[in-house]
Protein backbone atom coordinates (compact mmCIF):
# COMPACT_ATOMS: atom_id res chain seq x y z
CA UNK A 1 0.00 0.00 0.00
CA UNK A 2 2.89 2.28 0.79
CA UNK A 3 4.00 2.55 -2.83
CA UNK A 4 0.53 2.59 -4.34
CA UNK A 5 -0.69 5.56 -6.29
CA UNK A 6 -3.25 7.86 -4.76
CA UNK A 7 -6.65 6.46 -3.91
CA UNK A 8 -9.83 8.18 -5.00
CA UNK A 9 -10.18 9.58 -1.50
CA UNK A 10 -6.71 11.07 -1.67
CA UNK A 11 -7.56 12.67 -5.02
CA UNK A 12 -10.80 14.17 -3.82
CA UNK A 13 -9.73 15.13 -0.30
CA UNK A 14 -6.11 16.21 -0.56
CA UNK A 15 -4.41 17.07 2.70
CA UNK A 16 -2.59 20.37 2.57
CA UNK A 17 0.74 20.68 4.29
CA UNK A 18 -0.03 21.16 8.00
CA UNK A 19 0.10 24.81 8.96
CA UNK A 20 2.92 24.04 11.38
CA UNK A 21 5.14 23.00 8.49
CA UNK A 22 5.19 26.59 7.30
CA UNK A 23 6.73 27.57 10.62
CA UNK A 24 9.80 25.56 9.69
CA UNK A 25 10.72 28.31 7.22
CA UNK A 26 11.67 30.37 10.28
CA UNK A 27 14.31 27.84 11.30
CA UNK A 28 17.73 29.00 10.17
CA UNK A 29 21.15 27.45 10.44
CA UNK A 30 23.07 28.31 13.62
CA UNK A 31 25.85 30.86 13.30
CA UNK A 32 28.52 28.27 14.06
CA UNK A 33 27.39 26.14 11.12
CA UNK A 34 27.08 29.17 8.86
CA UNK A 35 30.62 30.20 9.77
CA UNK A 36 32.05 26.72 9.23
CA UNK A 37 30.39 26.20 5.86
CA UNK A 38 31.14 29.76 4.75
CA UNK A 39 34.82 29.36 5.48
CA UNK A 40 34.94 25.95 3.84
CA UNK A 41 33.33 27.40 0.72
CA UNK A 42 35.74 30.35 0.73
CA UNK A 43 38.67 27.95 1.02
CA UNK A 44 37.37 25.86 -1.88
CA UNK A 45 36.89 28.96 -4.01
CA UNK A 46 40.41 30.18 -3.26
CA UNK A 47 41.78 26.78 -4.27
CA UNK A 48 39.71 26.90 -7.46
CA UNK A 49 41.00 30.38 -8.32
CA UNK A 50 44.59 29.27 -7.73
CA UNK A 51 44.10 26.34 -10.09
CA UNK A 52 42.53 28.60 -12.72
CA UNK A 53 45.35 31.14 -12.39
CA UNK A 54 47.93 28.39 -12.71
CA UNK A 55 46.21 27.07 -15.82
CA UNK A 56 46.05 30.59 -17.26
CA UNK A 57 49.75 31.15 -16.68
CA UNK A 58 50.54 27.83 -18.26
CA UNK A 59 48.62 28.65 -21.42
CA UNK A 60 49.83 32.26 -21.61
CA UNK A 61 53.45 31.41 -20.99
CA UNK A 62 54.08 28.92 -23.72
CA UNK A 63 52.86 26.93 -26.62
CA UNK A 64 51.02 23.67 -26.51
CA UNK A 65 54.32 21.93 -27.13
CA UNK A 66 55.86 23.48 -24.03
CA UNK A 67 52.82 22.57 -21.98
CA UNK A 68 52.96 19.05 -23.32
CA UNK A 69 56.63 18.77 -22.44
CA UNK A 70 55.93 20.02 -18.91
CA UNK A 71 53.07 17.58 -18.46
CA UNK A 72 55.20 14.73 -19.76
CA UNK A 73 58.02 15.72 -17.39
CA UNK A 74 55.62 15.88 -14.47
CA UNK A 75 54.22 12.48 -15.31
CA UNK A 76 57.73 11.02 -15.39
CA UNK A 77 58.55 12.62 -12.03
CA UNK A 78 55.31 11.32 -10.52
CA UNK A 79 55.94 7.80 -11.82
CA UNK A 80 59.53 7.83 -10.56
CA UNK A 81 58.46 9.22 -7.18
CA UNK A 82 55.74 6.61 -6.94
CA UNK A 83 58.17 3.82 -7.78
CA UNK A 84 60.72 5.15 -5.32
CA UNK A 85 58.11 5.38 -2.59
CA UNK A 86 56.93 1.85 -3.25
CA UNK A 87 60.50 0.63 -2.71
CA UNK A 88 60.72 2.12 0.77
CA UNK A 89 57.10 2.58 1.77
CA UNK A 90 55.87 0.00 4.27
CA UNK A 91 52.32 0.69 3.07
CA UNK A 92 51.02 3.56 5.17
CA UNK A 93 52.91 6.50 3.70
CA UNK A 94 55.83 6.02 6.07
CA UNK A 95 59.39 4.95 5.32
CA UNK A 96 61.56 2.24 6.75
CA UNK A 97 62.74 4.80 9.31
CA UNK A 98 59.61 6.82 10.11
CA UNK A 99 56.09 5.51 10.73
CA UNK A 100 53.34 6.80 8.46
CA UNK A 101 50.43 8.89 9.62
CA UNK A 102 48.02 6.04 8.93
CA UNK A 103 49.77 3.68 11.33
CA UNK A 104 50.12 6.41 13.93
CA UNK A 105 46.38 7.10 13.59
CA UNK A 106 45.68 3.59 14.84
CA UNK A 107 47.36 4.55 18.12
CA UNK A 108 44.87 7.41 18.45
CA UNK A 109 42.10 4.80 18.42
CA UNK A 110 43.58 2.63 21.18
CA UNK A 111 42.44 2.66 24.80
CA UNK A 112 43.92 5.30 27.10
CA UNK A 113 46.50 4.13 29.62
CA UNK A 114 46.67 7.32 31.70
CA UNK A 115 43.96 9.44 33.32
CA UNK A 116 42.60 12.51 31.57
CA UNK A 117 44.87 15.54 31.94
CA UNK A 118 43.47 18.43 33.93
CA UNK A 119 42.40 21.71 32.38
CA UNK A 120 44.59 24.77 32.85
CA UNK A 121 43.20 27.97 34.30
CA UNK A 122 41.07 29.59 31.63
CA UNK A 123 39.60 26.28 30.56
CA UNK A 124 40.84 26.33 26.97
CA UNK A 125 43.95 24.14 27.30
CA UNK A 126 44.89 20.95 29.11
CA UNK A 127 48.04 20.47 31.16
CA UNK A 128 49.17 17.80 28.69
CA UNK A 129 51.40 19.00 25.89
CA UNK A 130 53.68 17.73 23.15
CA UNK A 131 56.66 20.04 22.87
CA UNK A 132 55.31 23.57 22.49
CA UNK A 133 51.80 22.39 21.62
CA UNK A 134 49.33 22.16 24.48
CA UNK A 135 46.32 19.92 23.99
CA UNK A 136 42.98 21.79 23.88
CA UNK A 137 40.03 21.03 26.15
CA UNK A 138 37.51 21.46 23.28
CA UNK A 139 34.90 21.90 26.00
CA UNK A 140 33.19 24.70 24.10
CA UNK A 141 32.77 22.31 21.17
CA UNK A 142 31.05 19.75 23.40
CA UNK A 143 33.97 17.39 24.02
CA UNK A 144 35.90 16.57 27.19
CA UNK A 145 39.17 14.74 27.82
CA UNK A 146 38.71 11.17 29.06
CA UNK A 147 42.25 9.78 29.06
CA UNK A 148 45.72 9.91 27.61
CA UNK A 149 48.65 7.72 26.63
CA UNK A 150 52.29 8.03 25.56
CA UNK A 151 53.89 5.78 22.97
CA UNK A 152 57.17 5.42 21.15
CA UNK A 153 56.93 4.18 17.59
CA UNK A 154 60.22 3.48 15.82
CA UNK A 155 61.92 5.98 18.06
CA UNK A 156 59.33 8.74 17.58
CA UNK A 157 57.50 10.04 20.64
CA UNK A 158 53.74 10.17 20.40
CA UNK A 159 51.46 11.92 22.92
CA UNK A 160 47.74 11.18 22.67
CA UNK A 161 44.73 12.63 24.49
CA UNK A 162 41.33 11.00 24.13
CA UNK A 163 38.07 12.94 24.16
CA UNK A 164 34.39 11.98 24.35
CA UNK A 165 31.18 13.88 23.65
CA UNK A 166 27.80 13.72 25.34
CA UNK A 167 26.60 10.87 23.12
CA UNK A 168 29.62 8.73 23.96
CA UNK A 169 31.53 9.18 20.71
CA UNK A 170 35.28 9.05 21.26
CA UNK A 171 38.15 10.60 19.36
CA UNK A 172 41.93 10.57 19.81
CA UNK A 173 44.24 13.53 19.21
CA UNK A 174 47.84 12.36 18.76
CA UNK A 175 50.90 14.56 18.29
CA UNK A 176 54.16 13.05 16.99
CA UNK A 177 57.46 14.82 17.61
CA UNK A 178 58.40 14.84 13.91
CA UNK A 179 57.01 15.60 10.50
CA UNK A 180 55.87 12.12 9.62
CA UNK A 181 55.37 11.19 5.96
CA UNK A 182 51.78 10.95 4.83
CA UNK A 183 50.50 9.32 1.66
CA UNK A 184 47.18 9.77 -0.12
CA UNK A 185 44.08 11.45 1.24
CA UNK A 186 42.70 14.83 0.28
CA UNK A 187 43.90 18.25 1.27
CA UNK A 188 41.10 20.60 2.26
CA UNK A 189 41.01 24.13 3.61
CA UNK A 190 38.61 24.24 6.55
CA UNK A 191 37.96 27.46 8.45
CA UNK A 192 41.23 28.76 7.06
CA UNK A 193 43.31 25.77 8.17
CA UNK A 194 45.02 23.50 5.66
CA UNK A 195 44.21 19.93 6.65
CA UNK A 196 44.52 16.49 5.10
CA UNK A 197 41.69 13.97 5.30
CA UNK A 198 42.53 10.28 5.11
CA UNK A 199 39.82 7.81 4.22
CA UNK A 200 39.93 4.72 6.40
CA UNK A 201 36.42 3.38 5.93
CA UNK A 202 34.40 3.89 9.10
CA UNK A 203 37.32 5.72 10.69
CA UNK A 204 37.83 9.41 9.98
CA UNK A 205 41.39 10.72 10.19
CA UNK A 206 42.44 14.35 9.85
CA UNK A 207 46.10 15.34 9.99
CA UNK A 208 48.07 18.57 9.84
CA UNK A 209 51.52 19.90 10.66
CA UNK A 210 52.33 22.43 13.36
CA UNK A 211 55.63 23.57 14.86
CA UNK A 212 57.55 20.82 13.11
CA UNK A 213 55.24 18.16 14.50
CA UNK A 214 52.53 15.99 13.05
CA UNK A 215 49.07 16.25 14.56
CA UNK A 216 46.54 13.48 13.97
CA UNK A 217 42.87 13.49 14.95
CA UNK A 218 40.99 10.21 14.51
CA UNK A 219 37.60 8.81 15.45
CA UNK A 220 35.26 6.01 14.51
CA UNK A 221 31.73 6.93 13.49
CA UNK A 222 32.48 10.62 13.90
CA UNK A 223 31.64 12.74 10.85
CA UNK A 224 34.73 14.02 9.13
CA UNK A 225 33.20 17.52 9.16
CA UNK A 226 33.18 17.47 12.96
CA UNK A 227 36.84 16.39 13.04
CA UNK A 228 37.74 19.09 10.52
CA UNK A 229 36.12 21.75 12.66
CA UNK A 230 37.93 20.56 15.81
CA UNK A 231 41.20 20.32 13.89
CA UNK A 232 40.77 23.84 12.57
CA UNK A 233 40.63 25.09 16.18
CA UNK A 234 43.90 23.31 16.98
CA UNK A 235 45.85 23.78 13.73
Amino acid sequence: MMDDDMTDDEHTHPVDAPEALHALDDVVAPDSLRLAVGEAVAGAQRALERRRAARGRLWRGGTLGVAGAVIASLLIVIVLAFMAQKLIDPGDGGTAAAPGVRSVASVALRAPSDPAPAARPGGELLTAQAGPIAFPTWMRAGWHAVGARSDTIRGYELQTVFYADASGRRIGYAIADAQLPVGGGQVVTWRGARLRVLDRGATSVVTWRRDGRTCILAGRGVPVGRLLTLASYAA
Binding site: D5, E10, P14, V15, P18, L24, A40, A44, V188, P223
Partner: protein
Protein backbone atom coordinates in the same frame (compact mmCIF):
# COMPACT_ATOMS: atom_id res chain seq x y z
CA UNK B 1 27.73 21.14 -18.62
CA UNK B 2 27.11 23.58 -15.75
CA UNK B 3 29.20 23.26 -12.65
CA UNK B 4 27.98 23.69 -9.12
CA UNK B 5 28.94 27.05 -7.67
CA UNK B 6 30.32 26.26 -4.17
CA UNK B 7 28.57 29.43 -2.99
CA UNK B 8 25.28 27.56 -3.47
CA UNK B 9 26.05 25.79 -0.18
CA UNK B 10 25.87 29.13 1.60
CA UNK B 11 22.85 30.33 -0.40
CA UNK B 12 20.82 27.22 0.47
CA UNK B 13 22.33 26.60 3.91
CA UNK B 14 19.15 27.29 5.90
CA UNK B 15 17.10 24.97 3.72
CA UNK B 16 19.78 22.25 3.84
CA UNK B 17 19.89 22.58 7.62
CA UNK B 18 16.11 22.14 7.84
CA UNK B 19 16.24 19.12 5.54
CA UNK B 20 19.06 17.62 7.63
CA UNK B 21 17.16 18.23 10.87
CA UNK B 22 14.03 16.64 9.41
CA UNK B 23 15.99 13.60 8.28
CA UNK B 24 17.96 13.15 11.52
CA UNK B 25 15.41 14.43 14.04
CA UNK B 26 18.26 16.00 16.00
CA UNK B 27 19.74 19.46 15.70
CA UNK B 28 23.26 18.30 16.59
CA UNK B 29 23.20 15.50 14.04
CA UNK B 30 21.79 17.91 11.48
CA UNK B 31 24.82 20.19 11.93
CA UNK B 32 27.13 17.21 11.53
CA UNK B 33 25.27 16.08 8.44
CA UNK B 34 25.42 19.48 6.76
CA UNK B 35 29.15 19.81 7.53
CA UNK B 36 29.79 16.31 6.25
CA UNK B 37 27.87 17.08 3.06
CA UNK B 38 29.75 20.35 2.58
CA UNK B 39 33.09 18.55 2.96
CA UNK B 40 32.09 15.96 0.38
CA UNK B 41 30.65 18.45 -2.11
CA UNK B 42 33.67 20.76 -1.85
CA UNK B 43 36.20 17.96 -2.20
CA UNK B 44 36.18 18.36 -5.99
CA UNK B 45 34.39 20.34 -8.72
CA UNK B 46 30.83 19.09 -9.23
CA UNK B 47 28.78 18.98 -12.41
CA UNK B 48 25.05 19.58 -12.16
CA UNK B 49 23.95 17.19 -14.93
CA UNK B 50 21.00 19.42 -15.73
CA UNK B 51 19.81 19.55 -12.14
CA UNK B 52 18.87 22.62 -10.20
CA UNK B 53 21.52 23.61 -7.61
CA UNK B 54 19.16 23.02 -4.70
CA UNK B 55 18.06 19.62 -6.03
CA UNK B 56 21.72 18.64 -6.43
CA UNK B 57 22.58 19.68 -2.88
CA UNK B 58 19.52 17.99 -1.37
CA UNK B 59 20.50 14.81 -3.22
CA UNK B 60 24.06 15.09 -1.87
CA UNK B 61 22.72 15.64 1.64
CA UNK B 62 20.34 12.68 1.38
CA UNK B 63 23.08 10.42 0.02
CA UNK B 64 25.40 11.43 2.85
CA UNK B 65 22.59 10.76 5.33
CA UNK B 66 21.91 7.32 3.88
CA UNK B 67 25.63 6.56 3.81
CA UNK B 68 26.27 7.50 7.41
CA UNK B 69 23.02 6.58 9.12
CA UNK B 70 24.00 2.95 9.61
CA UNK B 71 26.61 3.88 12.17
CA UNK B 72 24.55 6.73 13.58
CA UNK B 73 21.39 4.67 13.93
CA UNK B 74 23.20 2.44 16.42
CA UNK B 75 23.41 5.39 18.77
CA UNK B 76 20.35 6.55 20.69
CA UNK B 77 18.42 9.27 18.87
CA UNK B 78 18.77 12.67 20.45
CA UNK B 79 15.66 14.78 20.62
CA UNK B 80 16.01 18.27 21.98
CA UNK B 81 14.54 18.73 25.42
CA UNK B 82 13.08 21.98 26.68
CA UNK B 83 16.27 22.56 28.68
CA UNK B 84 18.40 22.17 25.57
CA UNK B 85 16.19 24.48 23.59
CA UNK B 86 16.28 27.11 26.31
CA UNK B 87 20.03 26.85 26.73
CA UNK B 88 20.40 27.21 22.96
CA UNK B 89 18.24 30.32 23.21
CA UNK B 90 20.56 31.75 25.84
CA UNK B 91 23.65 30.94 23.79
CA UNK B 92 22.12 32.56 20.72
CA UNK B 93 21.14 35.67 22.60
CA UNK B 94 24.73 35.97 23.79
CA UNK B 95 25.96 35.88 20.25
CA UNK B 96 28.47 33.14 21.00
CA UNK B 97 26.87 30.23 19.28
CA UNK B 98 23.59 31.19 17.66
CA UNK B 99 21.19 28.32 17.29
CA UNK B 100 18.01 27.91 15.36
CA UNK B 101 16.06 28.43 18.53
CA UNK B 102 17.49 31.88 18.95
CA UNK B 103 15.98 33.05 15.69
CA UNK B 104 12.50 31.76 16.31
CA UNK B 105 11.16 34.32 18.70
CA UNK B 106 10.68 32.22 21.80
CA UNK B 107 11.70 28.92 23.39
CA UNK B 108 8.12 27.74 22.89
CA UNK B 109 8.35 28.33 19.15
CA UNK B 110 11.71 26.59 19.08
CA UNK B 111 10.29 23.65 20.98
CA UNK B 112 7.43 23.42 18.49
CA UNK B 113 9.92 23.28 15.64
CA UNK B 114 11.93 20.70 17.53
CA UNK B 115 8.80 18.57 18.06
CA UNK B 116 7.83 18.98 14.44
CA UNK B 117 11.25 17.88 13.21
CA UNK B 118 11.11 14.92 15.59
CA UNK B 119 7.65 14.04 14.25
CA UNK B 120 8.91 14.14 10.67
CA UNK B 121 11.96 12.08 11.57
CA UNK B 122 9.65 9.48 13.13
CA UNK B 123 7.72 8.93 9.91
CA UNK B 124 8.29 5.70 7.99
CA UNK B 125 11.24 6.22 5.67
CA UNK B 126 9.30 6.43 2.38
CA UNK B 127 6.86 8.99 3.79
CA UNK B 128 9.62 10.98 5.46
CA UNK B 129 11.70 11.30 2.31
CA UNK B 130 8.68 12.42 0.28
CA UNK B 131 7.63 15.03 2.83
CA UNK B 132 11.18 16.28 3.36
CA UNK B 133 11.77 16.62 -0.38
CA UNK B 134 8.56 18.54 -1.09
CA UNK B 135 7.52 20.34 2.09
CA UNK B 136 10.91 20.97 3.71
CA UNK B 137 13.31 21.20 0.76
CA UNK B 138 10.74 22.79 -1.54
CA UNK B 139 11.40 20.53 -4.52
CA UNK B 140 8.76 19.91 -7.17
CA UNK B 141 7.02 16.53 -7.33
CA UNK B 142 9.13 15.74 -10.40
CA UNK B 143 12.40 16.61 -8.64
CA UNK B 144 11.30 14.71 -5.54
CA UNK B 145 10.43 11.66 -7.64
CA UNK B 146 13.86 11.76 -9.29
CA UNK B 147 15.52 12.17 -5.91
CA UNK B 148 13.73 9.24 -4.32
CA UNK B 149 13.77 7.15 -7.49
CA UNK B 150 10.06 6.66 -7.95
CA UNK B 151 7.08 8.07 -9.88
CA UNK B 152 5.45 11.43 -9.29
CA UNK B 153 2.16 9.70 -8.46
CA UNK B 154 3.89 7.68 -5.77
CA UNK B 155 5.40 10.85 -4.32
CA UNK B 156 1.93 12.41 -4.23
CA UNK B 157 0.54 9.37 -2.43
CA UNK B 158 3.34 9.22 0.11
CA UNK B 159 3.13 12.95 0.67
CA UNK B 160 -0.61 12.71 1.31
CA UNK B 161 -0.09 10.08 3.98
CA UNK B 162 2.94 11.79 5.47
CA UNK B 163 1.08 15.09 5.86
CA UNK B 164 -1.89 13.28 7.35
CA UNK B 165 0.31 11.59 9.97
CA UNK B 166 2.15 14.79 10.83
CA UNK B 167 -1.17 16.63 11.18
CA UNK B 168 -2.44 13.86 13.47
CA UNK B 169 0.75 13.96 15.54
CA UNK B 170 0.45 17.70 15.98
CA UNK B 171 -3.24 17.65 16.84
CA UNK B 172 -3.95 19.01 20.35
CA UNK B 173 -5.15 15.66 21.67
CA UNK B 174 -2.00 13.95 20.42
CA UNK B 175 0.20 16.67 21.88
CA UNK B 176 -1.39 16.18 25.25
CA UNK B 177 -0.40 12.56 25.38
CA UNK B 178 3.31 13.12 25.69
CA UNK B 179 6.38 14.54 24.11
CA UNK B 180 7.17 14.19 20.44
CA UNK B 181 9.96 11.80 21.20
CA UNK B 182 7.54 9.49 22.96
CA UNK B 183 5.07 9.37 20.07
CA UNK B 184 5.53 6.91 17.30
CA UNK B 185 4.07 7.69 13.90
CA UNK B 186 4.71 4.24 12.52
Amino acid sequence: MARLDPQALVTHLDRLYRVAWALCGSREEAEDLVQETAARVLAKPRRLHGQDELAYLVRALRNTFLLTRRTRSRRPREVATLDQVESAEVRGAGGVNGAAASRMGSPAAALEASELFAAIASLPEEFRHALVAVDVAGLSYKEAAELVGTREATIASRLFRARERVAQALAPEARGEGSASARSLR
